[in-house]
């Protein structure tokens, strides 16, 4: 364990030198290869222990300690944490390319276009052409994306959904307490600006994965359970995602269908009749959906799940009755909803 911690520290120092120090001017191909080898090692460590909170904690402490000394040594230094380790090679690359002291010969090695591409995830990858391959990959994606943009969920979101499922499956297979997996999902939500919105799309893709194993079914179940408790996420999903996706989700998962209905009813119940607009609207603090849109949601849901119609109409009817069962527009959102649905 000590050896591993020492290696982590050394790699953090290596990253600092790569991005901040003029010492890179002395680097040759061998140094470069070794540096990337160490970065790969850290990526490997990260994937090995990211589910092991005890060891992860020890490593995090070590990194903090190293950060302190590196901060003192390099004025422009940014701390690295355990979560950064999964992208260690990328960090190294960015640091190197931004370092004005990097010899052009090293850059030529990284951008070399002659060597054949080695896709194996082995430790003996050659660093030659590392950047050339990245550029090829990114460009190929751009070339092909106009052809694949036709589906509701793009290839990129599908991949993210698949990765989410993999991660959930790994967590669920190891942890006996579900809360750690929940914490993981919670932390993803708080990722930053727009993270929640993006995450909704990824969750949808994950739930819509069709070719699944038993482990993945469990992951989907867990995800749905978690969603039940996260009303804000559910609401965000229902307002931000395209209707076609929502319908597919409702068709695929009964649990989601029920939750979706609940969100729609909640939206309706929060609505007030606005005299000036002549329409039911949500409170001004949280305008996400219009009455018309709400109606469209319900209609789309009924079209794809016809069995639902009767139950929902009965519910709406009961609610309308409790509101007084008037036949006049503007008095009960339930009545108006029913008439809009039955037009």
């Amino acid at each position: 364990m000590e050896a591993v911690l020492k290696n982590l520290s050394s790699t953090a120092e290596l990253l600092a030198v790569a991005s901040q120090s003029g010492a890179v001017a002395q680097w040759d191909k061998q140094t470069l290869s070794r540096a990337f080898h160490w970065a790969r090692y850290c990526e490997h460590i990260s994937s090995r222990f990211h589910n092991n909170s005890a060891i992860k904690g020890i490593m995090e402490k070590q990194l903090q300690f190293t950060n302190q000394s590196l901060r003192a040594a390099f004025p422009g230094y940014t701390d690295i944490s355990f979560s950064d380790l999964s992208c260690c090679q990328h960090l190294l690359l960015v640091g190197l390319l931004k370092n004005p002291e990097l010899p052009i010969s090293i850059m030529k090695i990284l951008f070399d276009t002659t060597s054949p591409v080695n896709n194996q995830q082995s430790d003996y990858q050659d660093v030659t052409g590392f950047c050339s391959h990245i550029i090829q990959c990114k460009s190929a994606r751009k070339v092909l994306s106009p052809l694949t943009d036709l589906s509701a969920v793009g290839a990129d979101v599908e991949v993210q959904g698949a990765m989410l499922m993999e991660r959930l499956a790994a967590l669920l297979s190891q942890e006996s307490e579900a809360c750690r997996t929940e914490h993981f999902l919670d932390s993803v939500l708080q990722g930053g600006e727009g993270a929640a919105g993006h995450f909704c799309l990824v969750i949808a893709a994950a739930l819509l994965t069709t070719k699944i194993s038993a482990a993945q079914t469990a992951s989907q179940g867990f995800l749905l359970d978690w969603l039940q408790k996260k009303h804000s996420v559910l609401q965000l999903m229902c307002s931000a995602l395209p209707t076609t996706l929502l319908i597919d989700l409702a068709k695929g998962h009964l649990q989601f269908r029920a939750a979706y209905c609940d969100v729609l009813k909640k939206w309706a119940s929060d609505m007030e009749y606005s005299m000036s607009e002549g329409e039911w609207v949500q409170p001004s603090t949280n305008r996400t959906v219009s009455f018309k849109r709400l109606t469209e949601h319900f209609l789309a849901l009924f079209e794809s799940c016809p069995s639902l119609r009767e139950d929902v109409e009965n519910d709406l009817n009961a609610l309308n009755i409790s509101d007084g069962d008037f036949d006049v527009k503007g008095l009960s959102v339930w009545g108006d909803l029913l008439s809009a649905l039955n037009k």
Partner: protein, 624 residues
């Protein structure tokens, strides 16, 4: 512009001069492509990609001729803008050659020791652009942040997404439509053409290989499912310069769709085989199998017709060179075997495969000896010989009178019959084998057939004397091998050796013909092994044809391995062949100077199809 003149004079005359207007043209193109991302701009990019790469190569050459970045920027002020725009064009950067040339141009603008502000700025700009290209993640920021939480690195993510895209597109191709009825109806096949176009810069991208394979092999039932020609050309040139490897079926499909790639493949096979004449028959067979051409010909009649046409031209051009004949024979045998494996119905499709051959000869020649009872062979060959004889007689009659067109037609028929015979050389070998066990009265048709095989034209009316020599050779061989006592009759031996050594003054019979007969006698005649070996050894030694004899033995062995119908007792025959081969190897080790002189004399008269310098050991001059 005036600055260019002195420079052009310093440059070598082989390079085309640099035209600044051309740079403007390409810069405008690059700007237009970068501005809008519509199907039209994408199509235009793919259309121009190949020419753009040629232009970049030209630019690079000129840049290398200049000594500093300052000079380059002065001569080509738009260069920086141009390269900068290309860096952000994914079609250029996805393509291996495009990326290489672009990067080399950028390095060309980098100065190791910048001498002024311009050069320093250029250096900074180049570093910045390259850093952005490799690490900028604006489009995927949210995705990458999420992926980092899952422990997936950016490089891994890009690769996975690319693979997912390829998989999705592959699925779409599988669902090609079957409707040929309503051309106005939209079908999903429109995207096949668009996909193939998008793959123009991706032919060298390993992740796209499966997609490219799927595009090549899709059923093509719909009119709209045609592949883009630019795609086929790009694929073809990448494959022939061995930048990529394709699956077997993908290669066959490529040849099927793209004539020039097929022609390239056949021509390079011919060149490879005919320059590498040291290979054994077994090695040649392997080479042919590896080329995938026999398989491809078996799958598509159109491919066979093209390949056969090329062989035909080669045969004509080289005037029946032995190496070419041998290649054609071996190719045909591989091809027919592949055809049989695919279980095509035989008789119906022969006409489609051999439209120019005399129809009456098709089935008789293409039927393999193994498909016929052995007792029927002699009759069959007699019939074949007779038919061919009739054909040549008709040609000769036509030569005398009749219009030019009937004469040409006659020559054509005879040539085609001979070409078919070469391709069905299994019957020629059966004829040789039968000669070993024939009576003198029965030899005629067989000898005629073999003489025709080696000398299809009757220039100078030499056939009559050739037939006489053939009979003589057979007589000598028959009596030599029938004699059970030693010493061997000297006069017979000497006559045989004389026949085997061609004299330039008189028209002679192909030594290979006689050698083949000799070897077959040695293997199959009912004589003791030692006796046969001694005869073979003596004759071969004196005529200096050791290597050639060894070659004939190897071919015979190979044929026996494939078609064991020639002998009922294959083990014994193999042992016998091995023993004879050993005899020859020992002889070769102790080489005979007199023999070598004769050998050199023969080889000096050889012509090879492709290179005039090398003398192939196994081929003899075809003296007509």
């Amino acid at each position: 512009m005036s600055q260019l003149q002195p420079q052009n004079q310093l440059q070598q005359t082989s390079e085309p001069p640099l035209n600044v207007q051309e740079l403007q043209f390409w810069l405008d193109k690059a700007a237009a492509w970068g501005q809008a991302d519509s199907p039209d701009t994408r199509k235009d990019t793919c259309l121009h990609l190949s020419r753009l790469k040629d232009y970049l190569q030209l630019l690079l050459t000129h840049m290398n001729n200049m000594s500093s970045t300052t000079e380059r920027m002065k001569t080509l002020p738009l260069l920086g803008q141009f390269l900068g725009r290309l860096c952000w064009n994914p079609y250029v950067t996805a393509d291996a050659t495009g990326r290489r040339l672009l990067l080399q141009c950028l390095w060309g603008l980098y100065s190791e020791h910048p001498g002024n502000a311009l050069e320093r700025k250029a250096n900074q700009w180049i570093r910045k652009v390259l850093c952005q290209l490799a690490t900028e993640e604006d489009d995927d920021a949210a995705a990458l942040a999420l992926m980092k939480r899952m422990g997936v690195s950016p490089k891994e993510y890009h690769l996975k997404v690319l693979k997912m895209m390829v998989a999705l597109l592959q699925e779409n191709i599988g669902k090609s439509c079957r409707s040929l009825v309503d051309l106005n109806q939209r079908c999903s096949c429109d995207n096949i053409r668009a996909t193939s176009e998008a793959c123009v810069p991706l032919v060298t991208c390993p992740e796209a290989a499966l997609l490219i394979g799927a595009l090549l092999q899709q059923p093509m039932t719909c009119v709209r499912a045609a592949l883009s020609q630019d795609f086929l050309d790009a694929l073809s040139s990448a494959y022939s310069s061995q930048c990529i490897s394709l699956e077997e079926q993908a290669v066959v499909s490529l040849w099927y769709h793209n004539l020039s790639s097929l022609e390239d493949a056949v021509l390079s096979l011919l060149e490879c085989v005919l320059t590498n004449t040291g290979s054994t028959p077994q090695e040649l067979k392997q080479q042919l199998a590896q080329s995938l051409l026999p398989k491809a010909c078996a799958q598509h009649c159109s491919i066979f017709l093209v390949a056969n046409d090329i062989f035909r031209s080669f045969l004509k051009q080289t005037e029946g060179n032995e190496s070419v004949k041998y290649l054609i024979q071996t190719f045909s045998s591989c091809f027919l075997r592949e055809l049989a494996r695919l279980q095509h119905k035989t008789s119906g499709s022969w006409k489609a495969l051999f439209p120019q051959s005399p129809q009456s000869l098709l089935v008789p020649l293409l039927t393999r000896p193994s498909e016929m009872p052995r007792e029927a062979w002699k009759h069959h060959l007699n019939w074949l010989s007779g038919s061919l004889q009739t054909l040549t007689e008709e040609e000769e009659e036509g030569d005398g009178d009749g219009s030019r067109s009937t004469r040409l037609e006659g020559h054509h028929k005879v040539f085609e019959a001979w070409f078919l015979l070469i391709q069905c050389a299994h019957w020629v070998q059966v004829a040789v084998w039968l000669l070993v066990t024939s009576d003198p009265e029965d030899c005629g048709p067989l000898l005629w057939l073999l003489t025709f095989y080696h000398h299809p034209t009757n220039r100078g009316h030499h056939r009559a004397s050739q037939l006489v020599h053939a009979k003589e050779a057979w007589d000598h061989l028959h009596s030599l091998y029938s004699v059970s006592s030693c010493p061997l009759p000297v006069d017979r031996l000497q006559s045989l050796v004389t026949l085997l050594s061609p004299q330039p003054e008189r028209p002679s019979l192909s030594p290979l013909f006689i050698l083949n007969l000799l070897v077959n006698f040695a293997v199959f005649f009912q004589q003791s092994l030692s006796g046969s070996a001694e005869i073979l050894q003596t004759v071969v030694n004196r005529s200096g044809l050791v290597n050639e004899a060894a070659c004939v033995l190897r071919s015979l062995e190979l044929r026996l391995n494939e078609d064991s119908c020639l002998s009922s007792d294959t083990n014994r025959v193999h042992l016998r062949i091995n023993a004879l081969q050993n005899t020859l190897t020992h002889m070769h080790a102790a080489s005979d100077p007199a023999g070598n002189q004769a050998h050199a004399h023969i080889n000096a008269q050889n012509q090879t199809a492709v290179s005039s310098s090398s003398t192939p050991p196994g081929s003899l001059q075809n003296d007509k």
